[in-house]
Symmetry: C2
Amino acid sequence: MFLDQTYLFTPGPTPIPNRVNAAMAQPMIGHRSPDFSVLIEDVANRLKPVFGTKHPVLALTSSGTSALEAAVVNTVSEGEDAVVIVAGSFGDRLATIAENYGVNVHRLNIEWGKSCTPEQLEAFLDGLASTSVKAVFATFNETSTGVLNPIGALGEVVARKSDALFVVDGVSCIGGVPVDMEKDHIDILVTSSQKALMLPPGLAFVAFSDRGLKAIRECPAKRFYLDLNRYVKAYEEQKSTPFTPAVSLIAGAKEVCSMIEEEGWENVIKRHYLLRDMLRAGIRELGLPLLTSDEDASPTVTAVKSGNIPAPDIQKALKKDFAITIAGGQKDLKGKIFRIGHMGYCTPFDILKVLTALELTLAKFGEEPKLGAAVKKAEEVWVQHV
Amino acid sequence: MFLDQTYLFTPGPTPIPNRVNAAMAQPMIGHRSPDFSVLIEDVANRLKPVFGTKHPVLALTSSGTSALEAAVVNTVSEGEDAVVIVAGSFGDRLATIAENYGVNVHRLNIEWGKSCTPEQLEAFLDGLASTSVKAVFATFNETSTGVLNPIGALGEVVARKSDALFVVDGVSCIGGVPVDMEKDHIDILVTSSQKALMLPPGLAFVAFSDRGLKAIRECPAKRFYLDLNRYVKAYEEQKSTPFTPAVSLIAGAKEVCSMIEEEGWENVIKRHYLLRDMLRAGIRELGLPLLTSDEDASPTVTAVKSGNIPAPDIQKALKKDFAITIAGGQKDLKGKIFRIGHMGYCTPFDILKVLTALELTLAKFGEEPKLGAAVKKAEEVWVQHV
């Protein structure tokens, strides 16, 4: 078939809309030009609702991990205490980064595939009552397991039980879930471009509260490229960036803002939950076990456990027969699950596509044929939203 | 006139070829896919001649400053001694980054607009004979002044007079100048995508010698996103990157490699020197003073001092009347010079374009009209190469 007809269902990178590609291919502009200042101010303001913040959202030219590193090195320093909620490989990465910089990390380990409950966090903080915890780090959406943590409830616990900053890795959900930094008590919220924000990888975004901004300003940790003070200062004083930004990706971000506004931010969120619910209904119909409970289920990525057929075999067959790319498991879950991303430029038809391919694949592997069955279940969910 | 007919002559970002834009707009692929491994290996190998190295060239998702920071935090640690040649604002930035991390920086200050001679470096190192210098940092092409430092001669001095690593910021010239890391005794060589490499900003490239690689491996400095060990390991073991890379920019880099190979790497270099010589001949004809001597002149960026008309006024007029963007001076040179970038996707016709605009602009400001005169001088240079 057409070799350019490929279907990307990884939990990032995600497909790029044509109009975003077109925006990125406009003539390059200088990053010290008035045109660029207009562009970056536009994007910084129009992303506010997506991050649930009143402050402009700043862009770093780098990928998600550097956003996590920025969240660490702008809030905690060597020798200070921090709590990191670890419920999967990205929580682990946050903890590893902080440990790398000599922070005293207290890991709140949660079983992979489950969310962190407010009660668990409260008990953990109680156990650290005699420690001065500078910051609590949480992964909003654990990409490795498809779990959405109850970030508002966790933020409430942090605010009630401690003076710690609440720093949130929103990498694989911001742009697909509701968030309100003030209500959710979030001080720093970071994400990257290649997930729900419909852009290629290469940009990280940072939002902050008044308190988060104060912490950034006062943090003595050594950093240069990831020193958020420099980004705040360049933006406030010159509507600019401290270092050469990924101009074309920021031009793409402007187009993404238009797309979100045209669809309506509330509708964007609803779409992501619809995609999740359609996919889960279809997967259940196929008899494949879901890794997470409905309560914990992420609206942007779904993890499916191996049934009779090993998950990696399904992953390979989808790639070979249908040019569909999904993701496997990471670390402890390697070989045990496959993960389907459904965020950003993803529609209900795309969910039907991946379910159809799964129906055909299971039949090919000798399972009892259920052609059309998963699609039917997904449509039954969809019809309630049409 | 056509609003999309804009002319970018800044020393980065530079114009993007249409075919590179098209390559970047191909369907997004997963960064953990075999397709991506093929892509990154292809780029890593095909960039070798451009960096004058036998090792694969690694890509970081970030801009030029982070490449400088990577060069620092992977070679020197807090409390160690390093020499930084400072002949402009980018040498100053290198020194500032190293100082930020607690390195004992010995600044070899050179008058802005002049190159660092091997004799100056040798005398400076002699003065530090009792100090154990871990690394000497040099800016290959000082973007702020349009000076190309004699990097091979400087490398020879470093190798002869010390055990120090020779770490080179090649940001605004790699892709337009000849370099041979072995002959030039360079241990680490970094650049970014948006200069002579014809890509949008967002990628940094790092090349290293055997000795550079050993230094990276042994460096105890704290870093995470910019830890080059992670990049080397991910490439060697899996033909991958440790963190999500800017996939679309790397797809663009592959197309750039094709363009360089089609033109021929030797011809690419010759073109850059031709562009420089044409521009300087034209500027001289207009009676505008050049900042640098012919010996020091960069093949990628040319700085012109204010004559009767202030440089910023010329810069503004080019923008307003011709949609031509050039750059101004930085720090001490602010308001005193303008800078014209001529690297990457730039042809002799582009040089005639900017000279024509200067002829018209000077006439508009009341100077004795020299319409066609600078173009003629530039053509006289060109004709010798046709």
